[in-house]
């Protein structure tokens, strides 16, 4: 038994350490600052902390990749290994989540300044705590640790959703999200309890081993628990029919928080779905393609009817969860490791691209959103191509990428997902996915039409965006194009991913 954390342990947890120390620092400094000084000191400090965590993630990625000379992975030793995956998988997750949090922070700086009573300290503290929860969910080798992570980022999101606490829409969205989220959390816990009752452990590797070695695949309590657990995860990933909360909460939450929710939560949930794939009860494995198909249908059908852009993106998020599940079929139902690893890489690629694209889309919406609670509809973006070419270009690129049209990154993401499913023999799901993407073209192209081919309304005024917001939009727009033209830039770094 060892009670002391060594420097190597801390190295394995470096992004978490930086983020949690940073969150406390932000809270403390916030206490001693005047109202005016807050807006000057805290945002750069938060950027610095997030950049530090991002750097730590990248450093871990480099040191963990095979062939690196600086920190051979053997030297890190089996210190925290029973509970923490110190692997490329986790490092990639940490990089993604810190990147998302950083982008959301940059998008929100100018937005926050426009608020009645900007709450810099609390907002930024919670923004720094969010990636901690998601990284824990990704790196956890134990379901209880994963649950604590899930709870950290969920609670942070409930609060951030309701942060405009004098506006009843925001509080309503926060309350709805909290009620359904707490319900899902209780279901997750009961599922884990049943797994523990059946198997006597919550360590994910052990659970996998038990279902592999001669012993019967999860039966009885453990199988039931696994099924219940997956319900909760599907809820977090907003897979239909567990998506009811998505449109309302996306619409009611402040736009930058919606961006965080749609990218961060989905990424984390799918990472855990990948790690926990073996817990899925075998009797209902055929349900996964069905869920994928239902999500694609429900998401696309819902998106067709929307005039509110945030609700549209919420439904499109449901459809994208469906596309991701198509690749997930290959992990759950495919034959052997080859299929599984191809599918995992496809999912991670998709998540990265979807994250960048959604950040771009919501970034533009956050920019356009006025201080008043404006409704972001097709009306609002009419003729944006002439009023603000930069915004319009980024939104157009994002829409093209979400639709999966070359030469954007979204095309390669979809291609890989469907290719992985087809090579694993999941033809039906892949075909429905491809058909769904074709239907999706309609509403994504409607965005393009509104942007460029419709006249602008008279009194349209575009609020000024800060430098950081513009930089984020520019970077994400550039990334969509860059990864679309040179997909290997994003494929190659994922080559070392192992389950």
């Amino acid at each position: 038994m060892d009670f002391r954390l060594t420097t190597t342990d801390l190295h394995a947890l470096l992004p978490l350490v930086i983020l949690s120390a940073g969150a406390c620092l932000v809270l403390l400094i916030d206490l001693f600052l005047r109202e005016e000084a807050r807006s000057r000191v805290l945002p750069p400090l938060t950027s610095l902390i997030l950049l530090g965590a991002l750097g730590a993630g990248i450093e871990q990625y480099i040191s963990l990749s095979p062939g690196s000379f600086r920190f051979p992975s053997e030297r890190l030793g089996p210190l925290l290994t029973p509970i923490w995956r110190h692997q490329v998988f986790t490092a990639v997750g940490a990089i993604l989540l810190c990147g998302i949090a950083l982008a959301v922070h940059w998008i929100s700086t100018s937005w926050l300044r426009e608020e009645d009573r900007p709450a810099y300290g609390e907002y930024q503290c919670l923004l720094l705590l969010f990636p901690i929860g998601t990284i824990l969910l990704i790196g956890a080798r134990n379901l209880m640790l994963a649950f604590v992570g899930l709870e950290i980022f969920s609670v942070a999101l409930y609060v951030l959703t309701a942060m405009r606490r004098t506006r009843s829409r925001a509080v309503e969205a926060g309350l709805k999200y909290f009620l359904l989220g707490a319900f899902a959390a209780a279901i997750f816990l009961y599922g884990s309890a049943l797994i523990y009752a059946g198997k006597g452990t919550l360590d994910l590797p052990d659970l996998g081993a038990i279902s592999r070695e001669g012993l019967p695949a999860p039966v009885g309590l453990a199988a039931l628990g696994g099924g219940i657990l997956f319900l909760a995860l599907f809820f977090k990933a907003s897979v239909a029919p567990f998506h009811m909360w998505t449109p309302d909460v996306y619409q009611g939450a402040p736009t930058p928080i919606t961006a965080l929710m749609s990218t961060g939560t989905k990424t984390a949930a799918f990472f855990l779905l990948i790690t926990a794939a073996r817990l899925f009860p075998h009797e209902i494995l055929p349900l996964i393609p069905i869920l994928a198909i239902v999500s694609i249908l429900v998401g696309n059908a819902g998106a067709l009817r929307q005039t509110d852009l945030k609700r549209l993106l919420a439904y499109s998020g449901v459809a994208h969860a469906g596309y991701l599940l198509v690749a997930y079929c290959a992990i759950a139902l495919g034959q052997g490791h080859q299929d599984a690893h191809t599918a995992i890489r496809a999912i991670l690629y998709y998540l990265a691209v979807y994250g960048i694209t959604n950040l771009a889309a919501f970034g533009v919406l956050a920019w356009l959103e006025r201080r008043e609670e404006s409704v972001l509809t097709f009306e609002g973006i009419r003729g944006l191509g002439r009023r603000n070419p930069f915004c319009a270009a980024v939104l157009a690129l994002a829409a093209l990428s979400l639709a999966g049209i070359p030469p954007t990154a979204g095309f390669w993401a979809k291609y890989q997902v469907f290719a992985a499913a087809l090579s694993a023999g999941q033809t039906t799901a892949a075909v429905v996915g491809i058909l769904g993407s074709v239907v999706g073209l309609y509403y994504y192209l409607r965005i393009l039409v509104a942007l460029y081919f419709e006249p602008a309304p008279e009194e349209a005024r575009i609020p000024a965006a800060g430098f950081a917001g513009a930089l984020t939009l520019g970077l994400s727009g550039a990334a969509i194009l860059l990864f679309g033209i040179f997909p290997s830039l994003l494929v190659d770094p994922l080559i070392h991913i192992r389950l």
Binding site: E172, L179, A182
Partner: protein
């Protein structure tokens, strides 16, 4: 059904109160969990909905501890139960904060009035 319940063997020797079968406790936990789900689905009063969630969390805890006893008082089950209690406290705090914010704006606790966002 009754016969199958009575046919269950008592729990293993060497653990506290072995004459109480573990499956009885698991069954009671299941009942509590389902009561919680029922309350969550049926009741509209927010506080009662929160209480239903607490019932569900307690069902999880009871399952953890019953399973831990079956394994000679495995400490892991108790560790998990402590985490669940922590989470329950966290959710109660945040939930009531949201409830107070909501009540300031609306002066009602009826969930059905949460319809401002077009559904």
């Amino acid at each position: 059904m009754i016969a199958s319940i009575l046919a269950v063997l008592p729990a293993a020797e060497g653990i506290p109160n072995p004459s109480i079968p573990t499956s009885w406790v698991l069954l009671l936990a299941a009942l509590l969990f389902i009561l919680g789900i029922y309350g969550f689905l049926v009741r509209r009063d927010l506080i009662v909905v929160f209480m239903s969630i607490e019932l569900m969390l307690n069902a999880a805890n009871l399952t953890f501890l019953a399973a831990a006893r079956e394994r000679m008082l495995d400490p892991e089950g108790q560790v998990y139960a402590i985490f669940v209690i922590t989470v329950a406290a966290v959710e109660a705090a945040v939930g009531l904060a949201l409830l107070i914010a909501w009540f300031r704006l609306r002066a009602t606790l009826d969930v059905e009035t949460a319809v401002e966002l077009e559904g």
